[in-house]
Symmetry: C2
Subunit: 209 residues, 2 copies
């Protein structure tokens, strides 16, 4: 999760900045309006060029409502550091965030297969090439959706800076406590025999930490 | 960020589970409805007993709309691990998430001061006791809000488990790649002189990592 650029508390307009934020994590919050009220759910996702891919269970009623074209907003946030200033007022956080607004639509057939493979590879790059593809039964149980990334329908914000400088030096400490998320050693499932190594995709994920 | 209980993909109903999830991070996503459309913004927050405290700038128009009682939903999500199964279909993530629904209201006077102190101490425990309190000017520039945590108006979900067991042992590896977020060494602001140590609150934060 490398920083994308050093600028303080600025709303970005570059599409490359948006993509960098969206590609840096795998979980976000999907919001829609249900009967006039806000409705939100955390979801795994992947970016696929100019769209965001999401999935869920076809059994989830609220999700079907969204998948059928209801207006949606998808938000991603990462907390990157705690910004400690001379005053509580100037103390804040370093973060990366993005919001993409639009209308979801369902995927079907080959498009759904591709969307689900992308979701898997967003979590564990290369994993979809190591295992069998989805069965018809699995596809029928899965709601694959895409949210287009359209001009004017997204915002990206990044704060990656020291605290605001005080008007007069107080002599006190001020600065940033960086927060980092890293992968730890893989934990095999209880039924996996001792000599079986993790697949290449998992090893790459952990070695890249 | 300790795990709160080992249960697979279960929606919890215990208030202690909700509190544990809300207390484990400091950033969430606030959603409301604006002119019929979903509106979301990432926000810092703190839990204060039976309510969530949020703050923003009084200059933010959309936030004033929410603060004046519009229906809101606040979502928190933490990605705790990548769950690698024998199939893409059974692969998923370990996570903690919570959603609290209700109507925000503004704080004023001493209640606002207390709310803002809580926000600071949620990021850096004990920090509010180390520095001066808020000035009138700072308070005037800050919108402090509370969202009540009321029975029946929240959900908490935690997945903290291995992948689903395959029906027949494939001989392949399956398991979890845990993700952990930790604080790194504090970075002093450019104007801080070399001999000035971080305050106790920051040292405790880093030592507790």
């Amino acid at each position: 999760m490398d920083r994308i650029r050093r600028y303080p508390d600025l709303a970005g307009t570059r599409r490359t900045d948006l993509d960098a934020v969206l590609d840096a994590t795998a979980v976000g919050t999907l919001a829609t309006v249900d009967d006039g009220l806000p409705w939100v759910v955390p979801m795994l996702y992947a970016r696929d060029g100019d769209r965001i891919v999401l999935h869920g269970s076809t059994g989830a009623g609220a999700l079907r409502h969204v998948a059928d074209g209801a207006p949606a907003a998808f938000a991603v946030t990462m907390l990157d550091g705690i910004v400690v200033a001379d005053t509580l007022f100037d103390s804040t956080a370093n973060y990366r965030s993005a919001v993409v607004r639009g209308n979801l639509r369902r995927c079907a057939g080959d498009e759904a297969v591709r969307a689900l493979d992308l979701m898997s590879d967003a979590l564990v790059p290369g994993r979809s090439a190591e295992v069998r593809t989805h069965t018809k039964k699995e596809l029928a149980a899965t709601l694959a959706m895409v949210l287009p990334i359209e001009p004017g329908c997204w915002t990206v914000k990044v704060r990656d800076a020291p605290p605001p400088a005080p008007t007069a030096d107080s002599g006190e400490w001020a600065g940033v406590v960086p927060l980092h998320t890293t992968a730890r050693d893989p934990i095999p499932a209880p039924w996996v025999r001792a000599h079986v190594p993790p697949p290449d995709s998992v090893r790459r994920l952990v070695d890249g930490r």
